[in-house]
């Protein structure tokens, strides 16, 4: 439906160029989860508070629950499915596994992507910077202790 009003967008998704039609009002989270069946992006708060839906757009963490799919036109998007290469975990993923920095795992995709973005920008963040950067990613299970350990192990 709404074919007339749909927009064609081109973007890179986890390294692969793509072209799709999206409704102008479609949220990025729905586009990823429902149209592209990339369910690793999680929905929790819907209001840009929790970070579960975080994806990287041009390397920056973005809440896909409050972003439009149309806005990724011409950009590069990385979701949690795109971090491991040939089955090898990214360093951040590996650190989360090694430090048991997850429990239910619902916050984990967003947390891992936010950490990835943090370390891209600040390869050697202070504890204060880590806390500041990850403040927008809620984890209700771990109490963050092991998440902090995991992130610090990468610094």
């Amino acid at each position: 439906m709404a074919d007339l009003a749909s927009l064609d967008i081109s973007f890179t998704l986890n390294g692969a160029p793509q072209t799709h039609s999206v409704a102008p009002f479609a949220l990025l989270i729905d586009f990823l989860r429902d149209d592209l069946a990339l369910k690793g992006t999680k929905r929790s708060c819907d209001v840009q508070v929790c970070g579960a839906c975080t994806v990287l757009v041009d390397g920056l963490p973005v809440s896909s629950c409050t972003s439009l799919a149309a806005d990724i036109d011409g950009k590069s998007v990385v979701t949690i499915e795109g971090l491991a290469e040939h089955g090898k975990l990214s360093p951040v993923q590996q650190a989360f596994v090694d430090h048991a920095a997850m429990q239910c795992g619902f916050c984990t995709p967003g947390m891992v992507l936010a950490t990835t973005a943090l370390l891209e920008r600040h390869p050697h963040p202070t504890e204060q910077e880590i806390r500041h950067y990850l403040r927008g990613n809620i984890c209700r299970c771990t109490g963050y202790i092991k998440i902090l350990e995991a992130v610090k192990s990468l610094v």
């Binding site: 989360f96 090694d98 239910c104 209700r140 299970c141």
Partner: protein, 755 residues
């Protein structure tokens, strides 16, 4: 995969790569989507629902309301039968489901919601427990029926013609005489607010009816309770209700007992197609919350600080439907006793209906409420008597083997050791970062988990040595799948990499009471012990009959067993036995109150305990508390997964930090005023104390293999009173109401100045 490469938990690789399929990620062929229209009124009669406009909107398949429930039992519950599947003629709280719109997509269902018109005739409402007790209070239910031994053992005691749905009383010794003759009597009242679980994955469920009955993909923590409730509603045999529980994104009790499955199944039943209903986080906030409480304590003490009598009087706000509130009310009173020798004890608890979100189980039911009161008062007593608060606790502390209450199992840990370790660890942290203005506070917590020793497990040992564990324990983040694998591996002498834990499915998994109350690891470990013994016995029998071996000389080793210095693979055993190179052995483990010679029937099966010590600073201009360091100590007997156990303890403590400092679901004019995640603040990484230490004591002594106990809830108990005690010690203000918001603390500071 070598042992070194194996991650700490079987579910980590899926979770860290986004492959993990949570319930909200599932697709069932042919499924359509429901969205819930919720009451905007705290209490009202529904005088009309107009669905015509919505029905004609694009993609809408059907709409279900309270007038569609003919042919099924529309009222359900787990403690009291008090809850309609969907509002019938009346709503009792803001957020109660009034209609469900089903459409081809969630978005289309959502759009059509606005077109459903509901007319209400408002009724008087009440949101506070004390008001609900008043003689002229509006009656929220006209009469409710307790369900005896339905989920918990026993039954609730409502009071007819009132809003009271539970009353509880216990007494030992001569309390009145002790008060009359005491040197000092302390009377204090403490308040604990409604708080919200906020499991990050909102409630979600899918239901489908077919020739084989009803299948539900559920987020419920107690699949067999869901199964039972659904079987009653639809008058289906239990065996024809199948509950499948994929990975769940957190629960903390908010998905315990039975929550949304009756609604989801009812809609699927009415529509005649598989239906998925996935709540938003705001809707989940309107689904369950912790019971708020006022706890009045009266404690008689000798001049040298010995506790002589204690009266605990709890009033709990249970919301619009009782859920498991009756059990919470009992536990709140018991958990307010503390690890102290108190010869004369009086416990009273009352829980009432109000026009608010239904109260429900939440990590250590009733525990934080009771412990908040008791551990705050311990410091009040210490201060008044001029005794150091830690010393006062030592003086009154129960020793291992002494009774918290004569009719309960004696305490099975050394609380003095736990408190001592908390102090020591804090001294270490202090030495690491000397800080002049840090003030310390201590609190202890003990809880008697309702372990319901009814559980079961299947172990399937395949001919190639791989093992499947089949259990109803759900993976909600706590790491049960890893625990199942490790215990099965240990009991059968096999490498843990050979073991997998299957997705819980009531069609194949044995009955289990449910996942909660710190019971799953313990109950499943006991059941696995029995199932492994069953398999070992079968191996012995077959080895004797097929290979002519002496069962007494068989020893399990990785991939098989040895006998008389000869090594056999499982295929060496099963191939000749079955005649083909295929097959398996199935071991059954059943746990009941009669297991282990009746030893599992005692209550509680173990004590879940915690000691907490904090170091805080206070900004006296703003009232803002900063928890700089925290130590959490728990005696868990033995850890199956040490890192996992630490993580549970850390998570519980930080969740408790949220309860202590800012979490509170607030009502005004019958409406929840902060019912979204924008307004309701839970701890972020920024709130975590700069120094945090978890000390897990592994002294054995618990009822499980190797002396293990259940764990995962204790650390939520002491943190709030520890912080309040530090405030009192350092700044001379005693705040008796949670959360300890800057405003509340600042006002207390002003009041002190004005005095």
């Amino acid at each position: 995969m070598s042992a070194a490469e194996r991650p700490d938990r079987v579910d980590f690789l899926d979770k860290v790569t986004g492959r993990a399929a949570f319930i909200s990620d599932l697709d069932v062929p042919g499924m359509v989507h429901g969205k819930v229209l919720r009451s905007t009124m705290p209490h009202a009669r529904i005088t009309g629902i107009d669905i015509d406009a919505a029905l004609s909107m694009p993609g809408v398949i059907g709409i279900v309301t309270g007038s569609d429930l003919g042919g099924i039992d529309p009222i359900w519950g787990v403690s009291l039968k008090d809850r309609p599947l969907i509002a019938i003629d009346r709503v009792r709280y803001v957020g109660e489901p009034v209609a469900v719109v089903v459409a081809e997509t969630e978005a289309l269902a959502e759009e059509a919601l606005d077109a459903v018109m509901v007319d209400y005739d408002p009724l008087p409402y009440v949101t506070e427990a004390a008001e609900a007790l008043a003689p002229n209070a509006p009656l929220i239910h006209d009469g409710v029926q307790p369900l005896k031994d339905f989920y918990f053992k026993g039954e609730a005691k409502p009071v007819a013609g009132t809003n009271i749905f539970q009353t509880y009383a216990y007494e030992t010794g001569d309390v009145d005489a002790a008060f009359a003759s005491a040197d000092r009597v302390f009377e204090d009242s403490f308040d604990f607010p409604m708080v919200y679980h906020y499991a990050m994955e909102p409630h979600c469920g899918i239901a489908s009816f077919g020739d084989d009955g009803l299948t539900v993909w559920s987020c419920g923590q107690a699949p067999t309770a869901v199964q039972k409730v659904l079987s009653r509603i639809f008058d289906l045999p239990i065996a024809r209700v199948r509950v499948i529980t994929p990975l769940i994104g957190g629960g903390f009790g908010g998905k315990a007992s039975v929550k949304i499955d009756p609604l989801v199944a009812t809609v699927a039943w009415k529509i005649g197609r598989p239906v998925r209903i996935c709540f938003s986080a705001s809707e989940s906030m309107l689904t369950a919350r912790r019971l708020s409480a006022t706890v009045n304590l009266k404690t008689a003490v000798s001049a040298d600080g010995m506790l002589q009598a204690k009266s605990v009087e709890v009033l709990m706000n249970g919301g619009a439907y009782a859920d498991t509130g009756p059990a919470v009310a009992i536990k709140a009173a018991i958990r307010a006793i503390g690890p102290y020798k108190i010869p004369n004890l009086r416990l009273r608890s009352t829980a009432v209906y109000t026009n608010t979100v239904p109260g429900a189980a939440f990590r250590s039911i009733g525990g934080p409420q009771g412990v908040w009161a008791t551990e705050s008062q311990m410091d009040i007593i210490a201060d008044a008597l001029g005794i150091d608060p830690v010393e006062l606790r030592y003086r009154n502390m129960l020793k291992r083997g002494e009774h918290v209450r004569p009719d309960l199992t004696p305490i099975d840990v050394d609380m003095a050791e736990a408190m001592g370790l908390a102090s020591q660890a804090m001294s270490r942290l202090d030495a690491q970062e000397p800080h002049r203005r840090i003030v310390h506070g201590t609190a202890l917590g003990i809880a008697d988990p309702a372990n319901s020793p009814v559980a079961g497990v299947l172990l399937r040992l395949k001919i190639d040595g791989s093992i499947a564990v089949i259990s109803s324990s759900i993976e909600v983040g706590q790491g049960i799948r890893e625990v199942l694998c490790r215990v099965a591996a240990e009991q059968l002498g096999q490498p843990v990499a050979a073991v997998s834990a299957l997705t819980p499915d009531t069609a194949i998994a044995p009955f289990d009471w449910g996942t909660g109350a710190s019971r799953s690891s313990l109950m499943m470990a006991l059941a696995i012990e029995d199932a492994a013994a069953d398999i070992k016995a079968q191996i012995g029998d077959i080895a004797a009959s097929t290979l002519g071996l002496d069962p007494a000389r068989i020893e399990l080793v990785a991939g098989g067993f040895t006998a008389d210095d000869k090594r056999y693979s499982f295929a060496d055993l099963l191939h000749p036995y079955f005649g083909i190179d295929s097959g398996e052995l199935i071991g059954i483990g059943r746990i009941s109150p009669r297991s282990r010679g009746g030893a599992l029937a005692k209550a509680p099966l173990f004590w879940e305990t915690a000691a907490g010590r904090c170091g805080i600073t206070l900004d006296e201009d703003t009232g803002e508390i900063a928890v700089k360091r925290y130590v959490s100590v728990a005696d868990i007997g033995r850890a199956i997964n040490r890192t996992g156990a630490e993580g549970q303890d850390e998570g519980a403590a930080i969740m408790g930090l949220g309860h202590a400092l800012f979490e509170e679901l607030i009502y005004a004019d019958g409406q929840p005023v902060n019912g979204t995640m924008i307004d309701y603040h839970v701890p972020t990484i920024d709130d975590v104390p700069a120094q945090f230490e978890t000390v897990l004591i592994e002294n054995g002594g618990g009822p499980g293999p190797g002396g293990m106990r259940g764990m995962g809830e204790g650390a939520i108990l002491p943190i709030a009173p520890a912080i309040a005690n530090a405030l009192a010690t350092g700044f001379g203000i005693r705040v008796k109401q949670l959360p300890l918001t800057p405003e509340r603390v600042w006002r207390a500071l002003q009041d002190k100045k004005d005095r």
